[in-house]
Structures are given as C-alpha cells and as structure tokens.
Symmetry: C2
Subunit: 576 residues, 2 copies
C-alpha cells in the first residue's frame, strides 16, 4: 500500500500521492484520525468545504489474515462536532488494499447542484456526474452499480438520508452478498453527501496479493491467531450461533438493558427478541445463523434472517439495533424489528442513533410506544423524503430531545447511548463519557470485563477500577481499529495469551518489522491522543466528558442505582 | 429591597430570606448572574430541576430615576447552554422593587402534570394550580389576570411556546398599557415552562416609595441625568421619533444590513420598512410615534403602530425584528411585518431568534422567501400548537440549520446573530464572539462607535481597536444592566461627561454610598467574570468564542469583506 488518492471535489481534480513517511506505519483508524487531525481545521463546519472524508483499509487488510476485512472512515462528525472514526465490513477494504491504495482523501465540495460518483481503480479516480441513482436506497444503488460496472466492484454509497445531509445518516458498504454493511455512527453520510458524492465504486482489476516480508511467519501466525478466535467461547461459539443478539438475555439478566427510553434496566419482553429466539426463527425459516460481513471472517456473527414465508428480511442484525427497537422502544415483534433494520440499511441511517431517537420521540408522544408499523411509515414517508417531520427526526436523538424539551436524552457529545445502561454497568459509562467518539460502546467495550468475565472481572456496580479498565480497553481498541481486524478479536486477545502475540507477529511478517506488544499499545495511545487533541481544539473540552444529568438523578431498577462517579475521577482517564 | 423570595416548585414551598451581605450591593444582572452562578450546577440540564429562574429589579428600580424600569431575568439557557441574563421593560420591576423584594428565585420542578401560577405580594408567594389560562397567548393571559386580580398587578407570563418548552420561547412582561415586553433571548420561557408556571402576578398593594439616603442629592442627580438623555441626539431625538428602526437606513448605508440569510450587506427594499416609513405610517394612521416601555421612560423609543384602518397592530416594534423579517427574510410589507411582530409577542417567542430561524428555513426551501403570510400560518398553526413542524422550528436557528444540513447558520453559542453583519462592522463581531450570552448585540453595542460615532470613532472595516472597544462596552453594559436603567442611556453616557457621574450620584444617594466611576467599572468586570466562569464550567470553552465559519469563507457585498480577525487576538478580550 504505497499511494494515497486525493480527490478534490471543489475543482474536481484527483492527485495520486506517495505515502508520507510519517504515515507509513499507520492504517485504519490510526491513519484516518491522523489525516483528519492534520488537515481539517477543528472548528470547520462538518458539512462545509474544509471537512475531509478519509477512507483507509487497516494494516492487515488485503492479506490472508482472518477477520482483517474491516474498513475505516474518518472525518469531523456533523453529529458530535468532534473527530469521528467508524468501522465497517464489506468488500471494499480488501479490494482497496490489494490495489495498493493506503487511503482515499476526499476534500472540498462542488459549488453547483450536480451530484457525482467516483470510480476508483488502480490508475486513479474518475469523477463522473451522477443522476440515475439519486434518491435510491442503498440496496438499489448496489444493484445498479453491479449492473453498470460489474459485480466484483466494491461499492460505498449513500441512501436518501445521506443525500439529505441528515445527522442520522451513515455510509453503506457492499458486502460479499451485495447486502449492506455500514460506517454507522456520527452522521458520516452527511459529510459524503455534502461533497455531493452518491457512491464510490472500486474496480478490483489489477489488484494483487500483497507482498509479505516473511510469508512463512505470516502463515504460522495467522494459524495461531485463527485458532484463538475459534477457541474462545464468545468468538468461537456464542457469536457464531446467536450473533450479537446473544446479549439480549445476558444484559437483561444483568439489569442493564435500557428499557422504555432508559427508565428501567430490564424488559419483560426480552425473550421475544433474544438471540435464542432469533436463532430458532432462522433455523425454522431456512435462513443462515452464521454468516460473515467480509471475506476471511472466522466469527460469522452475521446471519440471514427470513420472514415466516422464508423470504429474506435482513442480515447484519445486531444486538444494539434489536435492543433499541425491542427494549428501548417496546416493539415486541422480532419480524417487525427485522423489517425496520432492513429499512435502516436501505435509507442509510445509523441503526443505533435512529431507534434511540425514536424511543425519545415515543416519550415525547410523537408516536405510540412499540408502534413499529408507524415507525416504518415515518421512515419511508418522512425520513426518506425529508418532510419537515423527517427533518425533525433526521437530526438524531439529541435534536429530537431538545425539540421537545425533554430532560431524559440519552446522548454523550450528542451521539446516542447504545444498549448498555451505564448506571449498573459503570465501566461502559466511563467509555461513553470519555471516548473521543461520543457515546460508543465499541470504543472500549467494558461489557467484556464487567459482565462477560472476559479479561478478568471488574464489578459492574462499583466505580473502583472502571477508569483503568476503560482506558486499557480504549487503548487496545484504537490499536485493533488500525489493523483492519474485527474488534471481536478482543475476546480471545483478552483471555488467550497467544492471540495478541500472533497479531504482532502478522504485522511484523507483513511489513518486515520487529514490533512488540508495547508498540501496539503505544500506537493505541497515540491514536487516542491525536483524536483528543482534535476534540479539545474543536471545543469539546473536559466538561463534555460526562454523562447526561438524568443518570445522576434517576435510579434504575432493578439495582436501584444512579451514575455516581466523580468527574475528577473520570478526568483521570486521560492520565497516560 | 431587603428580602429574597425563594419558591421551590418541587415541594411547592416558599421561603422569605434576608439578603446575604455579599449580594447587598448587587441588583439586576449582577444579582441574577451571581445567584445563578452560585446555585446552578453549570452542567445541569437547563430544563431540569437543578436549573433556577431568577428575577431581580435593578439597583435604581422603583426610584424616581428616569428610565429605571428595566427588569432582569437569569438562568442557565436552554438555547446556549451557558448563563443567560435577559432584560425587559414593563411594570414588574418597579412594583417588585417597591415591595422591598430584591430577587425572586424559582427552583426545582413539580413531578406531576399540574401547572401553576404564582401570586407574589408583600407577604410572600402563593402557589396556585392553574388551568384557565393554559394554551392562551400572552395578551389573553394579561387580560385574564387583569380581570381576575386587578389591572394594577404586574404580570410575567408564558405564551404557548414557553408551555411547549421551545428554545425560541421567551418570557413576557405586562407593560403600562397591558401590552407585552419581553425577556427575549436565550429560551428562558422554556425554563419557566419546565417549572410548570404559566404566569406570575405581582400585587402592588403595600408597595411604598423607596427610602433614599440623600433625597435632595438623588433628585439633583436625576435632573442632570434626565437632561443628558434629552440632550443627546440619539436618545433625545432619533429614538424618540423613529424608534430603533431608525437604524434600517443607517445600517443599510453602512453595508452591514444582513440580507437574505446573511448573503448581502444591503437590501434593495430597505425603504419599505425603514424607521422613516414606519413614522409616516404611524402619523398617517393615528398611531403614537413615541411611547415608553415602562414608567419614567424619557426616551420613548416604543410606539403604537396601526394598520391602514387605524386598528392597533403592534408596539415595541424593534429594528432587529423589522430587519430580520424585512431584510433577512425579504418580507417587504411593513404591515405584515407588524402583524408578525404582534404574533411573536402573543406566542411568546424571541422576535430575533424566530425570524432569523425563518430566514434559515427559507434558505432550506421550507417556505418561500418573503412569504409573510405563510410565516403567519406556521406561527399560528404549527408553533402555537407544537406540531412536528412547529417542534422543528421551535428549536431555533441552529436547530433548523442543522436539521437541513446548511452551512450558513448565523448563530454564536447556538443563539441567532442579530441585525448587524460582523464582516463590515467588526466591533459587533467581537461582541458576538466573546459575550457570555451567545450572539447578542446589546451585550456590547459596538455599532455606537463603529457606525454612529458615539463614544468616538473606530473604523468598522478594520480589526484594530475592536477588541478593546467591545471589552469596554461589555463591561459598561454589564454595569448598566445591574442598575435597572435602560441600556440606551449608553448614548449620552458615551458622549456627555455629566451622564455617568449622575448615575453614580444616584446610586450613592439611594444607598448612602460613596462609589466612584471606577467602582461601576469594577462591578461590570465582576459580572462578566462570574458569567464567564459559569460558561467555562458548563463546557463553553474558548473555542466557542468564535463566529461561524461561513463569515470567514463568504465575502459580503458591498464591501466585499470577510471576517478575518485572528482567534488569538479575540482571546485577548478576557485580559482584564
């Protein structure tokens, strides 16, 4: 990976640049965050010409390493006002890596009303005016690009929400079955939309196996690595069978399943939308319980979920989305939840931000609790078409909560809090409050150690040890996000000693380096510090590293606990 | 003024407290900001139980001093997220001062759905359940309270917007003719609404002339002070004849009249809604060109503006509102502008935030440019009734701009920028960027010295001297806002040496003190520092002391200038 493609949408020019020496050792999140921090003025308007949208495969993307298909996208977030890195599966990361492209940087914005597509190839980027796919949902865009250019092209596209520059919009990536994976969070669809790019197609022609400094060592390390993935009960069994929805019953049992807009920690209907129920439905209806989001995936946490008639309903059906619709919004019919999930993908909206927003709208009385049919109608009629109601909701959870004058608005840095209540699971609260990304469980998944007893055990109900836990997880996550490896490798990495060593060995064998585990930790720290400095300069000071006040004021059943961590203790997070 | 009324809306209790020694020398803004800063956690939700709503007359309110009828209201702002002090005319300040009440502090919030009214008297505060006036516009509430309690009661009330907790809502105060004056900015109506108080009535019974330490000295000083008000051409002539709308032609001529959502500095239709046209209409239709907002006003910048049939349309018809509708929103019919102004008052919405928001909505295509009839319809049908469209718009300028993904959103700290473009009038840009209040021309009215040649002359097109100008004005303003005197006393205060001295003499004669001009300056500095410390702790750090990026990127005709002041220079504002 020896070149950077730079696309200027102001003058519609393209440059192919060599990789600066300082960026040579970076990939994925480390690279996108470094470029955004270096080139975007922190106070720039996120939808203006000074923001940049950066895509980068990880350091191991394009190799034969297991689970190395993740793709990174970075920009200043229109939702949080801070830096954003989002990760997606799909086919793009592998294809781009094998074309030797280390990053694609999209800058500027066109003055007129013309929309464009980008066609990326080994020779550069062609910027083409685009009309046919405008207004289309993401599935139709993928189908159209498959027809127009070929099924082997990677596709990165917007749905209608991204075209409308909505803060709930995401960026969609075609997966191996021409379904949708997403750069879900932070409203990145709006950034791509503000540059008037409907889709990016990537021609795999000329892509080649990546040169490895030590092929034998790489192969051996990958074998060890893959074995640890298969040996760990979470990555090798739980996720494979039940998907991430395995967590519905686990988190409900822990009393941390936010229900009815974060007013209870348990949901009486949890069985209706649990991973176990999902699995039974899949098997009974001829779906696929185990499925990968990208080539080389061992974990197979995705699935194909069919309706009662055996017709495809959705895939990539995640716990956080199911939770938000089922528990937070009280929609008890898993098939309706699946249908909504598919519409989220088609419109190109964040499947966490959007349902959490709907639960807030339910609390505000805009639609009845649990009314999935009305939600589908609003999605298709109002959000897709950007009616005034669609605009109100398209601004996301914080936007809707403020419009109705609510006090129970579950956001940090204006991004919706996902599926784990921080009152009885305090480690995840530290992550929500301190991560550079706005509320984001993936930034430092303390659930592992608070609830799943992975990487040891820290009592979820006590504040002791949570800052250190979250800090270590956030550092490790930032490093993993830079490799192109799936975050779920963290489960074996936390419990099986050989795992992390094999990842370091793969990096060394790929690039001819002699990194140690300490170097990986140093990379993670560097990423966090780069991102944090950007946020501080953007105006997200230490006062924004906090949970909303209602967590301090409203005790949560069944543990009857509030969020009571001292802000001074929280601030020690950054002492590294 | 020797007592503080403290109303707890959580347990519906009232306490009458003596004035703490530290607050004895404070009034108006100095007192409300000091109480808010001392008692409201800076990170509290502005609509939650931990915010407090504080009302205070000024240090000279209730005396015979000219133009001392201003009333101060403070809280954490739901719009800006920072501290807010707003000033209004009307009868309340004088009545409350003469009851010996130094401040009314309203805290907590009721758990249930019951709304309340407060009846304040010399003996305390009665908290009464209220139903009859719910949903009513402010004019109807005032009429109802006049009937129910008596015409001599002061009334402080919400319109529907405040009941709906909208960020554009304000708090209305009855004026001597039972018309409406407003605590306009910062969404304070939502704070009162969150405490479920529809109106506060104040019984004047038992109010008495305030004791003066030196009545003869007070009388002499007031005579001198009043003469300076009458002698200055702005306060003595321009404002009296044309109202604040005298500025339409002046600011247009200066090229600083923001037009069509801040895309030009001149409006070709300016004559249609100028102060001169307003004056001609008033005289031709039997209105009143000169009118006061409170007892004792010498300047009489208000008016009674009638329609073509001589029927009352509006009063308190201000330049900023006329600008926002006429130039920024391209509504050219002054009678339509007047009708809208009256509806703003009736709904209880900020007549700056709301029309600036509408111009942004026009740019977004939500309604046609210049369509005042459609605006009236939206106000009456959607904002008054809080439909989804009303909720979208009720969030204010920033909220609407973000919902539509616009980049040209004229706000600072999320509060709409008023009627003076900062690109060709750089002094006011410094005020917008640095004031603790969010964009607010009254916080440091650099127009005086940049454009009107009051208090000397600083070239509006140059950056030199603007920070110092704005700093001096903001300090002086904070002091004036603490006296209960109208801000327009600044015109003679800046030009006529006797003016400021006579104000200091009145303060000394009232309280038996021996303050000097330096003490007044020290008070102003203290107020700004207290407010600034609150904002910093609330998360409004130095990065938020800036203008939106579009002012740097888009040159403004006719001077073809951008905002180009260095942030480091701006930051020197706080060096005092």
């Amino acid at each position: 990976m020896h070149k950077i493609y730079r696309v200027n949408m102001t003058d519609l020019s393209v440059k192919i640049e060599p990789v600066p020496e300082a960026w040579a050792g970076l990939g994925g999140r480390a690279l996108t965050s470094t470029i955004v921090a270096a080139e975007v003025p922190p106070t720039a308007h996120a939808l203006g010409p000074n923001n940049k949208l950066v895509f980068a495969p990880g350091l191991l993307s394009g190799t034969a390493a297991s689970n190395a298909g993740r793709f990174s996208c970075g920009a200043k977030s229109p939702l949080t006002g801070g830096i954003k890195e989002s990760s997606a599966g799909g086919t793009a990361s592998r294809i781009i890596a094998r074309l030797g492209i280390k990053a694609i940087v999209i800058e500027g914005q066109p003055a007129g009303d013309t929309w464009y597509s980008l066609v990326v190839s080994k020779d550069g980027v062609e910027i083409r005016p685009e009309t046919e796919t405008l207004g289309m949902g993401t599935f139709a865009v993928v189908e159209k690009v498959n027809e127009r250019l070929g099924e082997d092209f990677a596709v990165i596209t917007l749905g209608p929400a991204g075209e409308h520059l909505m803060a709930i919009s995401n960026i969609s990536v075609k997966d191996p079955e021409s379904k949708i994976r997403s750069f879900g969070r932070g409203g990145l669809g709006g950034v791509m939309g503000s540059k008037k790019i409907k889709f990016i197609a990537v021609d795999p022609t000329g892509g080649a196996a990546l040169k490895l400094a030590d092929p034998a060592k790489f192969k051996a390390a990958n074998l060890t690595f893959t074995k640890t993935l298969n040996d760990h009960p979470v990555s090798g069994q739980g996720l494979k069978k039940y998907g991430t929805a395995v967590l519905v019953n686990v988190i409900n049992e822990a009393g941390g399943l936010p229900t009815k807009n974060f007013t209870s920690g348990q949901c009486e209907n949890h069985d209706a939308f649990s991973g176990e129920t999902m699995y039974d439905n899949i098997v009974a209806r001829g779906g696929e319980p185990s499925h990968g989001c990208s080539i080389g995936c061992q974990i197979q946490c995705s699935q194909v979920y069919n309706d009662k008639d055996g017709k495809y309903l959705t895939s990539g059906f995640e716990y956080e989305t199911i939770w938000a619709l089922g528990a937070d919004g009280l929609i008890t019919d898993l098939d309706v939840i699946a249908e909504i999930d598919n519409v989220f993908d088609d419109l190109g909206v964040d499947s966490i931000e959007t349902p959490v927003m709907f639960a807030v709208a339910m609390e505000a009385g805009l639609l009845p609790w649990g009314d999935g049919k009305r939600m589908l109608q609003i999605l298709r009629e109002d959000i897709a078409k950007a009616t005034p109601l669609g605009r109100l909701l398209g601004g996301g959870t914080g936007h809707v909560g403020r419009a109705f004058g609510l006090t129970r608005i579950p956001v940090v840095k204006n991004q919706a809090i996902p599926a784990y209540d921080p009152r009885p699971i305090k480690g995840i609260g530290v992550t929500y409050a301190t991560t550079t990304q706005g509320a984001d469980h993936t930034a430092g998944y303390a659930i592992a150690t608070n609830i799943l007893n992975v990487g040891g055990k820290v009592d979820p109900l006590k504040n002791e040890g949570q800052v250190e836990l979250s800090r270590n997880l956030q550092i490790a996550t930032a490093a993993v996000d830079s490799t192109g490896l799936c975050l779920f490798i963290a489960f074996p990495a936390l419990d099986i000693p050989e795992c992390l060593g094999s990842v370091v060995d793969m990096l060394n064998a790929r690039y001819g380096l002699s990194l140690t585990g300490d170097d990986v930790v140093a990379l993670g720290k560097h990423v966090l510090k780069v991102e944090h400095a950007f946020n501080l300069a953007a105006g997200l000071g230490p006062e924004t590293d906090r949970l909303p006040e209602f967590f301090e004021l409203e005790p949560l059943a069944p543990h009857d606990v509030t969020w009571d961590m001292d802000q001074k203790e929280l601030a020690t997070f950054w002492n590294f």
